[in-house]
């Protein structure tokens, strides 16, 4: 069977599985819709959290980013795993003891304030929608490359599947489909990684293969060979970075704090039976995540070696077919600057911007690039997102591996999109409608509102997927920065300080949110040509500014808190209650 038939089979089969699970696990009450009834086993929750967390960005883009950034890519590896330590030690057990449905629930109750609740809902919706737009692009890429449908059709199919299990099943449906999606995506990630590790080093464990000797008789280890090859071509060494140490520090910190503050991850810990399970479950989640995250740097390094090996100084007419198939959809472009018919790869952009192609082919049969060339000798444009998807083809792996990777990419994108859509709909139906505007509605009515909100959110996400805003890649920095600067500090202070009052929390969140939003918007949209270290405050890039936003949030909150009245007596009891595992869950009405 050819790749396309196999891909239809794998993607179609996985969709059938997800829908079957959704029908089996329909939600009947708001408690099931919001937190899966609170009966999820900690290991199952760990897998679901891992699938929820690992998005199209983790599955498709991350290894490619590391391949081209080398050491600097470490910010994503440490940032997106270290956040789980903060989550496990500072948030998850206490929020589980608090025992409500949403993050704004906690903030609104702890700070006895509707304003605080609404600010939290605004942060949550901003964070989640920016994030979901990126997922839809991932689905689009996979569908257009492997299934030959156009992106719009691909997104509609994906939305229909998410609609089935998110709107019907709520958190309960999502949890069990995410367990299945985790299995699909991790298998799809590890199989090609193991194949390639064996091909390049003879060692089947990619984590060890990264440090093993290359099986080409040179006696060099993978990283040594990569360092040498890149330096010969004029790049910096793979194991050295180009970012400043302070910026690496700030980005890593912002990603860690942002991860711990992401609402769709936090709510997963509302679904386990008790506090002890919430702690353990965070550990399992990180084990499942680390399986992919420790493999990714190996995949990245192998991919870069393979890419250089096949492309560098190869005649275009003899280059492997994957080069042309990705060129065909515009994610690779080649401009024969020295007119020798051979591909030369080196540092610097080959031409300004992504490639625009002339209708007629160039002299060697390539798609003729019309962009004005740069002074760099480099002739190759390559989109970093293709490395994981192209890797099995680059390494000439069997067709079923290619099909498997496509199914894995779709699973990663859908599982994260579903989790995000659920927290958006929950905060609309529960925090805005039930707890702010229409307090007297019944459980059945609230459930109906939740389903309508979920359906609406699916529609918006689908629209964003078909008409992606031109700045999708840029706005991902928003999601983490905003979560780090708004939600995380407010939750931590709510648990670790009994004195923090609503004025401090609200002003802290507003200050952190506004500062981070303006800083990123300035450098990404208002004055993008000044987006470099000479203009950044303290040399911190927009990606890392969330760390500073979080510090600002803490500082403003502490200052305002000093000069305003302490919280009412009931709040001290509430905080002391969530600090110990024993006892009943807190009632929402406490402190009102």
């Amino acid at each position: 069977m050819d790749v396309k038939t196999l891909t239809y089979l794998f993607v179609g089969g996985s969709f059938a599985l997800y829908i079957a699970i959704a029908i089996w696990s329909r939600a009947a009450s708001t408690r099931e819709f919001y937190v899966a009834g609170g009966h999820v086993h900690p290991i199952a929750n760990g897998m679901a959290t891992a699938a929820d967390w690992m998005s199209a960005a983790s599955f498709i883009s991350m290894a490619g980013i590391i391949a081209f950034m080398g050491y600097d890519g470490s910010v994503y590896l440490m940032g997106w795993t270290g956040g789980y330590v903060l989550l496990a030690l500072l948030l998850a057990p206490y929020l589980r003891k608090f025992g409500q449905f949403t993050v704004p629930d906690f903030i609104g109750t702890r700070y006895y304030s509707h304003t605080a609740r609404v600010v939290a809902v605004v942060s949550l919706v901003l964070v989640s929608f920016t994030y979901v737009a990126g997922q839809m692009r991932g689905v689009g890429i996979v569908f257009s490359q492997f299934l030959d449908v156009d992106i719009a059709t691909g997104v509609v199919i994906g939305m229909a599947v998410v609609f089935m299990y998110a709107v019907l099943g709520g958190m309960k449906g999502i949890t069990y489909t995410q367990v299945a999606q985790y299995c699909v995506l991790i298998f799809a990630y590890l199989v090609p990684a193991i194949f390639i590790s064996i091909l390049i080093t003879g060692n089947p464990v990619p984590q060890l293969g990264l440090g093993a000797t290359v099986a080409d008789g040179s006696g060099l280890s993978v990283l040594e060979k990569l360092d040498r090859t890149l330096v010969e071509l004029g790049f910096g060494a793979y194991t050295d970075g180009v970012k400043s140490k302070l910026d690496v520090f700030a980005i890593t910190m912002a990603l860690m704090i942002g991860t711990a503050g992401l609402p769709h991850v936090i709510v997963r810990f509302f679904t386990v039976p008790n506090v002890a399970d919430a702690r353990r479950s965070a550990g399992y989640a990180l084990v499942f995540i680390a399986l992919l995250y420790t493999t990714a740097p190996a995949v990245g390094a192998f991919a870069r070696l393979n890419f250089i090996d096949t492309v560098q100084d190869t005649a275009y007419t003899e280059v492997d077919s994957w080069f042309r198939s990705w060129e065909a959809i515009g994610l690779i472009g080649w401009l024969d600057k020295n007119a020798d018919g051979r591909i030369q790869y080196g540092p610097g952009a080959p031409f300004a911007g992504p490639p625009r192609f002339a209708p007629e082919p160039g002299p060697a049969g390539e798609r003729q690039v019309t962009n004005p060339p740069t002074a760099a000798a480099n002739e190759v444009y390559v989109d970093r997102d293709i490395m994981v998807l192209a890797n099995p083809e680059i390494a000439a792996l069997p067709a079923w591996v290619v099909a498997l990777v496509a199914a894995g990419g779709v699973a990663a994108a859908l599982s994260t999109a579903a989790g995000l859509l659920l927290v958006i709909s929950t905060s609309v139906s529960h925090d805005l409608i039930k707890n702010t505007f229409a307090r007297n509605i019944s459980d059945r009515q609230e459930l109906l509102y939740a389903r309508v909100a979920a359906a609406f959110a699916v529609g918006v996400a689908g629209y964003l997927g078909i008409n992606p805003p031109g700045f999708v890649a840029e706005v991902v920095a928003f999601a983490f920065g905003l979560a780090a600067a708004s939600l995380f500090p407010a939750i931590v202070m709510g648990i670790f300080s009994t004195r923090m009052n609503r004025h401090g929390a609200v002003w802290g969140m507003v200050a952190g949110l506004a500062f981070t939003f303006c800083y990123i918007a300035w450098f990404k949209f208002v004055a993008p040509d000044t987006n470099n270290s000479a203009h950044w405050w303290f040399g911190i890039s927009p990606e890392g500014i969330g760390a500073l936003g979080a510090v600002l949030n803490f500082a403003v909150a502490a200052t305002v808190n000093r000069f305003t009245a302490p919280p009412p007596e009931g709040i001290r009891a509430l905080v002391e209650g969530i600090r110990v595992p024993r006892g009943a869950a807190t009632s929402t009405t406490a402190g009102h």
Partner: protein, 92 residues
């Protein structure tokens, strides 16, 4: 009344023990990632271990393994503290 007072004192002692444990674990969290993986990466990179530069290994592999261990140590140690201060959940 005495038992109520007792319970409050126990809860405070439990909270202090919890803060101490979390503080130690977070110090290790900071050391392996921000310390070994970022601040000290150049000196550590002069040490070569099984084909890895050590600082690079901490940044892309080692720190993640330590994070996992930290969470499981926390979960186990907290379970012991829960019982020691008699604040564990019912039904366990």
């Amino acid at each position: 009344m005495a038992s109520e007072h007792d319970r409050a004192a126990r809860a405070r002692a439990y909270w202090r023990a919890n803060l101490k444990l979390s503080g130690v674990l977070l110090a290790i969290w900071f050391l392996v990632s921000f310390g070994f993986g970022i601040i000290l990466v150049e000196p550590l990179n002069r040490i070569q271990l099984f084909g890895f530069k050590l600082g690079f290994w901490w940044a892309q592999q080692g720190s993640i393994y330590v994070f996992i261990v930290l969470i499981f140590v926390y979960a186990a140690a907290m379970k012991r503290l829960d019982r020691k201060y008699d604040v564990h959940e019912d039904g366990e």
